[in-house]
């Protein structure tokens, strides 16, 4: 099928990160090849613009680990891209914030693990919460719009009201309360992270009420935990339709989690091919483009242009085949796999499980 134009690029600048969140979506076994250089990223940004991309998100790992971040933001603005920084805030002092503003940074998404410092630092596996509060004030002082991102899971979901209050107190324009999705480290730690049904119902009520109360003040985005849904999320608005990700070592991915979740897909590298060729011609981008690839029950389903069969990474992780219908869908013959996980949790008398903190691909390489 003919490739549409993409709208947004996720630029994962590095896998290095000072935090060790157990739900990190980075690959649990990231390859430790050399990161793209400043010049290589500038070329990627220019090629992305030529392809039609309008927005870039600088992410990671922790993008502030890269000393050339402001330089890359400037390059992106020169290429007329709208620039988002997706960060933990660790490494963001006053001068770095103003350096980024001067470079033309359009907006910041700052992650928080909780509103409560002890819980937050426990989840992050680092004393980071206080640093994040300071980072928020530097971002505000620099006049850059601020979004707060919370990943929601069993240990923090009951504190939704307090987390929303933190966003109000910090003067955020936007809050994302995203229930953890199970890829990368989160998949390994699923038993410890998945909230109970009771928690999910309560959280939904809290989010809906806060949305109404803060309408016109703060935009609240609440992302449901998809295991509790009956139809899959319209992942990426279709494979190879609007989004592309370039990871730290230059691989171009239709979805940020695809490299770890779908081992039989081979990804092209910007060091060897142009972004344009990879987007239009590569096997990885064309594999699930459109609806031709679909098996039943998707093929004859009236929803197929709405959810596009759901998430291929989830299908691969749960069923071993990325071409299957997302097993979250109750029409999928594999829904039993999701139900078994939910049943085990919701009937269990055991409260919490231990999780495994994320570790850096090469621990020695981390220098902030």
């Amino acid at each position: 099928m003919i490739a549409p134009r993409p709208y947004a690029l996720l630029a994962e600048l590095t896998y290095r990160c000072p935090l060790h969140c157990p739900y990190c979506s980075n690959p649990a076994r990231a390859r430790n090849d050399s990161e793209l250089t400043t010049d290589e990223w500038h070329r990627v940004l220019r090629e992305a613009t030529e392809l039609g991309v309008l927005q870039v998100g600088f992410s990671g790992g922790e993008p502030l680990v890269r000393r050339d971040l402001a330089n890359l933001v400037h390059g992106a603005r020169e290429a007329k891209l709208y620039t988002n920084l997706i960060t933990s805030g660790v490494g963001l002092d006053e001068s770095r914030a103003s350096e980024l503003r001067e470079a033309g940074l359009d907006s910041v998404q700052l992650s928080f693990q909780s509103d409560d410092i002890d819980l937050a630092d426990e989840i992050a596996g680092a004393r980071a919460h206080q640093t994040k509060l300071a980072a928020a004030s530097f971002i505000r002082a620099a006049g850059i719009p601020l979004s707060l991102n919370f990943v929601i899971h069993r240990r923090n979901i009951d504190r939704l009201p307090q987390m929303i209050a933190l966003a109000e107190a910090l003067g955020a324009e936007r809050v994302e309360l995203a229930n953890v999705q199970f890829y990368g480290w989160a998949f390994l730690n699923r038993a410890a992270l998945l909230p109970t049904r009771q928690q999910v119902v309560r959280a939904q009520e809290v989010a809906t009420a806060a949305k109404a109360r803060l309408a016109g003040k703060i935009d609240i985005f609440y992302v449901l935990p998809d295991y509790y849904e009956t139809r899959p999320k319209p992942c990426l608005n279709g494979w190879g339709q609007r989004y592309l990700t370039v990871n730290p070592i230059g691989e171009v991915l239709p979805c940020p989690t695809a490299s770890s979740a779908i081992p039989d897909l081979r990804f092209e590298n910007v060091r060897a091919r142009s972004l344009d060729w990879i987007w239009r011609e590569s096997e990885s981008f064309n594999r699930f483009r459109g609806t031709e690839w679909m098996p039943e029950p998707c093929r004859s389903c009236p929803q197929k242009e709405i959810d596009f069969g759901g998430c291929h990474c989830q299908a691969a992780l749960l069923t071993g085949n990325a071409a299957n219908t997302d097993p979250v869908c109750t029409l999928s013959p594999n829904r039993v796999l999701v139900d078994a996980v939910l049943r085990d949790l919701n009937l269990s008398l055991v409260g919490t499980f231990d999780w495994m903190p994320r570790v850096n691909p090469n621990k020695d390489a981390l220098q902030l």
Binding site: R5, Y7, A8, T49, G52, L54, Q55, K80, Y82, N84, D106, S107, Q109, G143, I144, P145, S147, E173, R174, G216, D219
Partner: protein, 95 residues
Amino acid sequence: MLMTTQIADDARPRLARGVRLQIDGTTGKSVLLFPEGILELNETAQEILARCDGQELSDIARALAEEYDVDLVTLAADVREILADLQRRKLVELS
């Protein structure tokens, strides 16, 4: 029921912080870019937003009515409606 108050004639609409008005190089159309979002604008919205630079709403409506030779009352109503919609989405601020 949500209360809606009509935007006043002397309100000064501006793009909200973090919102950019730009030409989409692929389509040649105007788009609004904002955190995690892109909005493609129709010609009317584009013409209005290009004038959201501190002018009063009544001046924007008058300028457009003259330029396109249309009835001012109808046009002012359209301008109000579009700006109210954009204000709800936090893409436009009034001062």
